[in-house]
C-alpha cells in the first residue's frame, strides 16, 4: 500500500473543505447541492481507502504498518516530525469515523435540505471529519493536539451552526470553553512530557514509559493531564455539562459528535496513550473510577429527561463512561500485575475501543432516528409524541434495533462489547462492576422509556398526517436519503458484535470474547431485561403510573431533572463567585491600578513631551530638508575632524 493512502484519507476531507469554502461558496453558491456531493465523494473515498488500510493492517504482522515520517519543523537541534501511525487501533477508528461520517453526510442531504447554510454546513462537516481523521492518524502528540483542537473548533462551529439562535450560540460557547478546561490539562501534560523526554513521538513516549525511564509522579501527572483532555472531549464527569447542551446543533452533527468524532476522540486518546496509563496505577485508577461513576451518574439523569435527544446524549456520556471504565479496569489489572503486560495492553484497547466501535453504530442510529422523528413531528419533546410506529415503520424498526443493542441484548452488537467490559470489571474491580451493572439496568429503562413514549401508545402532538406538504413537519416516513443510512446503521448495529474487531485490536487472550463464557452475561441480560420490563410497565402498558412514581420520589426526580444542579454549581458558584468576584476582581484591581497606571503614565509623559516638541514640526518641507543636510554636513565635518 502506498504511504500516501493514509495521508489521502485525512487530506481528502480537508480538500473538500477548501473546495467548498473557496470555490463553491464564493462562486457557485446557487448550486449549493454541489458541496454535499463533494463532501460525500471525499468522505466516501476516504472510507474506501480506510477499508483498504484495514485490510492491509489485518494482513500485516502485529497489525502495524510502518509509515514514513516527514520533517516538519526544525528548531535548533529539535526536529519535529510529521508522521502517521497505522495500527489496528487507528485502522478501526478510521473505519468508524469515515463510515459513520459518510452515512451521516448522506443523511444530511435530506435533513439539511433547503437550509441557507447548506454549503457552510458541509464545509464544516468536511473539516470536522478531516480533523478527526488527522487526530486518529497522528503519530506525534503535537500534531494530535493540533487536530484535537481542530475537532474542538469544528464542534464549536457546528453546534453553533444556527448561530442566530441564542441557545445554539450559548451551547457552542459552552462546549468550547468546557472542553478548553480539559485541553489545558492536556497541553500542560504534553509540555511536561516534552520537557522531561524531549520528544513528542507517541511511540517513543510509550517505550520510555514501559521501560520505566519515564515514571513516578511525572508519568502520573502527565497521564492525568492527558486524561483531563479526554474528560473534556468525552464529556466525563465533571466536565460533562456541555454535551447535552450541544443538542442545539443540527441532529446529524449530534450523531457525528456522539458516535464517531468528537467524544470518541477522548476515548481514543486514552486508548492511544494506554501503555502510559497502564504504567501508572494512580492514573489508570482515576480513569476507571471516573468512567464508572460517569456511567451511572449520566444514566440517572437520562431517566427523567423529556427531550429525546437529551436522553440519548446522557446515554452517550454514560456509554463513554463505560468505555473509560473498560480501559481503566484492564489498566488496573495490568498495573497491579494481575494481567501480563503484553496481553493487557492489547486487551485494554480492545475492550474500550470495541465498545466504541459498536456504540458508534447504534448511537449514530439513535440520533438519526431522533432526527427522523423530529423531521416528522417538528419537536424533540417526548410528551408530544407517541404512536409513531405506524407512521414511521422504518424509523421505529431501526430505532428499536439500536435501543436493544444499547441495552446489550444478545445477539446484537452492544451485548458483545458490553459483556467484555463487565467481565473485565468483575475480574479487576468488583465495586466498579456493581456500578456498571446498575448502569445496565438504568440504560435499559431510560432508552425503552423513550421507545415506548415515542413509538408506542397514541399520538399526543399537534402535527397531523399529511398536513404540511413539502414544507413543515408532517407525520410521514422520512425520505430515502435519510432512511437508507439508518438501515445501513441498523444492520451494522446488529452484526458489528460478530466481527472479529476485538481480536484484531489485540484481545488475543483465549476465552475472552466468547459470549456466555461466564455467568456475567446471563446476569447482564437479566438486569437489562428487567429494565426493559419496568419501562414497559410504566410507559408501555401503564400498569404503574409514572406520574405517581414521580410524586413519590419527587426530590430524586428533581435532583435528576435539574442535572444535580451542576450547571448552577458551575455557573453560580464557580463562575460568578470564584472567578468573577474573586480572581477576576483581583485581576481587575491590578489591571486598573498597576497596568493602566503604567500605561497611562507612559502615555501622559509621551503626550506632554510631544506637545512640547511638536513645535519643531512646522510642516515646512524645506525646513526638514535643511535639517537633514545640516545633519549630513555635521557628520561629514565630524568625520573630517576626528579621523
Amino acid at each position: 500500500m502506498p504511504s500516501s493512502v493514509p495521508l489521502a484519507i485525512f487530506l481528502l476531507p480537508f480538500l473538500s473543505f477548501v473546495i467548498i469554502s473557496f470555490v463553491i461558496r464564493p462562486f457557485l453558491n446557487h448550486k449549493a447541492q454541489l458541496s454535499g456531493y463533494i463532501t460525500i465523494a471525499a468522505i466516501g473515498t476516504s472510507f474506501a481507502l480506510s477499508l483498504w488500510v484495514l485490510a492491509e493492517a489485518m494482513r500485516a504482522p502485529g497489525h502495524v504498518l510502518s509509515m514514513p515520517a516527514y520533517d516538519w519543523l526544525a528548531i535548533g537541534d529539535t526536529v519535529i516530525r510529521f508522521g502517521v501511525t497505522v495500527d489496528s487501533l487507528a485502522a478501526v477508528m478510521l473505519i468508524v469515523v469515515t463510515g459513520i461520517s459518510f452515512l451521516v453526510q448522506v443523511y444530511s442531504q435530506g435533513y439539511m435540505h433547503g437550509d441557507p447554510g447548506y454549503s457552510r454546513y458541509f464545509a464544516f462537516m468536511s473539516l470536522f471529519t478531516g480533523s478527526m481523521l488527522g487526530l486518529v492518524l497522528a503519530s506525534n502528540l503535537l500534531f494530535l493536539f493540533v487536530f484535537w483542537e481542530g475537532v474542538g473548533l469544528c464542534s464549536y462551529l457546528l453546534i453553533g451552526f444556527w448561530f442566530h439562535r441564542p441557545a445554539a450560540a450559548r451551547a457552542a460557547t459552552k462546549a468550547f470553553l468546557v472542553t478548553r478546561i480539559g485541553d489545558f490539562g492536556f497541553l500542560v501534560a504534553i509540555l511536561l512530557l516534552y520537557s522531561k523526554t524531549g520528544t513528542f513521538d507517541i511511540g517513543q513516549l510509550h517505550e520510555l514509559a514501559l521501560a520505566g525511564v519515564l515514571g513516578g509522579t511525572t508519568l502520573t501527572w502527565a497521564a492525568i493531564g492527558i486524561f483531563s483532555g479526554a474528560i473534556g472531549k468525552s464529556a466525563q464527569f465533571p466536565l460533562h455539562t456541555w454535551l447535552p447542551d450541544a443538542m442545539e446543533g443540527p441532529t446529524p452533527v449530534s450523531a457525528l459528535i456522539h458516535a464517531a468524532t468528537m467524544v470518541a476522540a477522548g476515548v481514543y486518546l486514552v486508548a492511544r496513550m494506554f501503555p502510559m496509563f497502564a504504567s501508572s496505577e494512580q492514573a489508570i485508577t482515576t480513569v476507571a473510577v471516573i468512567g464508572g461513576f460517569t456511567a451511572i451518574f449520566a444514566a440517572t439523569m437520562g431517566l427523567v429527561m423529556n427531550d429525546i435527544k437529551r436522553v440519548v446524549a446522557y446515554s452517550t456520556i454514560s456509554q463513554l463512561g463505560y468505555m473509560m471504565l473498560g480501559l481503566g479496569v484492564v489498566g488496573i489489572g495490568v498495573a497491579k500485575g494481575a494481567v501480563p503486560l503484553e496481553v493487557g495492553l492489547g486487551l485494554g484497547v480492545a475492550v474500550g475501543i470495541f465498545h466504541l466501535f459498536t456504540h458508534a453504530f447504534f448511537k449514530a442510529l439513535l440520533f438519526l432516528g431522533a432526527g427522523s422523528v423530529n423531521h416528522a413531528t417538528g419537536t424533540f419533546d417526548l410528551r408530544e409524541m407517541g404512536g409513531l410506529r405506524k407512521a414511521m415503520p422504518w424509523t421505529f424498526a431501526t430505532f428499536l434495533i439500536a435501543s436493544i443493542s444499547l441495552v446489550g441484548i444478545w445477539p446484537l452488537s452492544g451485548f458483545y462489547s458490553k459483556e467484555g467490559i463487565l467481565t473485565q470489571a468483575w475480574d479487576h474491580q468488583r465495586a466498579l462492576f456493581v456500578l456498571a451493572l446498575l448502569t445496565v439496568f438504568l440504560t435499559a429503562f431510560y432508552i425503552f422509556r423513550v421507545v415506548f413514549l415515542t413509538f408506542g401508545g397514541e399520538y399526543r402532538g399537534k402535527v397531523h398526517a399529511h398536513n404540511g406538504g413539502a414544507h413543515g413537519p408532517s407525520l410521514r416516513e422520512s425520505p430515502l436519503v435519510m432512511v437508507a443510512p439508518m438501515v445501513v446503521l441498523a444492520i451494522m448495529a446488529g452484526v458489528a458484535g460478530w466481527l472479529p474487531i476485538g481480536k484484531f485490536l489485540g484481545a488475543e487472550a483465549e476465552g475472552y470474547f466468547h459470549p456466555f463464557s461466564s455467568a456475567i452475561a446471563w446476569i447482564s441480560l437479566l438486569v437489562g431485561g428487567f429494565g426493559i420490563f419496568l419501562a414497559y410497565a410504566l410507559y408501555g402498558a401503564k400498569w404503574i403510573s409514572a406520574e405517581l412514581l414521580r410524586q413519590r420520589f419527587a426530590p430524586v426526580h428533581t435532583l435528576f431533572s435539574r442535572k444535580y444542579w451542576f450547571d448552577e454549581l458551575y455557573e453560580r458558584v464557580f463562575v460568578f463567585k470564584v472567578l468573577l468576584d474573586g480572581v477576576f476582581a483581583l485581576f481587575q484591581w491590578f489591571d486598573t491600578h498597576v497596568v493602566d497606571g503604567l500605561v497611562n503614565g507612559i502615555a501622559g509623559g509621551t503626550v506632554a513631551s510631544g506637545s512640547a516638541i511638536r513645535r519643531l514640526q512646522t510642516g515646512q518641507l524645506q525646513a526638514y530638508g535643511i535639517a537633514i543636510f545640516f545633519g549630513i554636513l555635521v557628520i561629514a565635518l565630524c568625520l573630517a575632524v576626528f579621523s
Binding site: 511638536r614 514640526q617 510642516g619 515646512q620 518641507l621 524645506q622 530638508g625
Partner: protein, 101 residues
Amino acid sequence: MTVGLEHFLVLSAVLFSIGLYGALAKRNVVVILICIEIMLNAVNIALVAFSRYGHILTGQVFAIFIMVVAAAEVAIGLAIIIAIYRSRETVDVEKTDLMKW
C-alpha cells in the same frame, strides 16, 4: 592643463550645491523637483567619472539605475504635485504645510 578626475568631481560638487540651494530655497514645488534632478545629475557625473578613471563599468551601471529611479520619481512627484494643485490651487511649498503637529 589636462582634465582629470578632480575636475569632474568638482563640477559634480558645484552642480550638486546649486541643486541643493534651489531645492531648499525655491517655493515652487516643480522647481524644487527640477533642482533635485540637477542634484541627481551631479551625482551621476561623479559616478561616471569614477567609472571612467577607474576603468570599471559599475559606476555607469549605477548611473543607469539612478536614471531609472529618477524617471519614476519625477512621474510620481509630478503626479502628486498635480493632485495637490487640483485640491489646493497652489504649488507653493510654504502653503502646503498641513502635515504638522
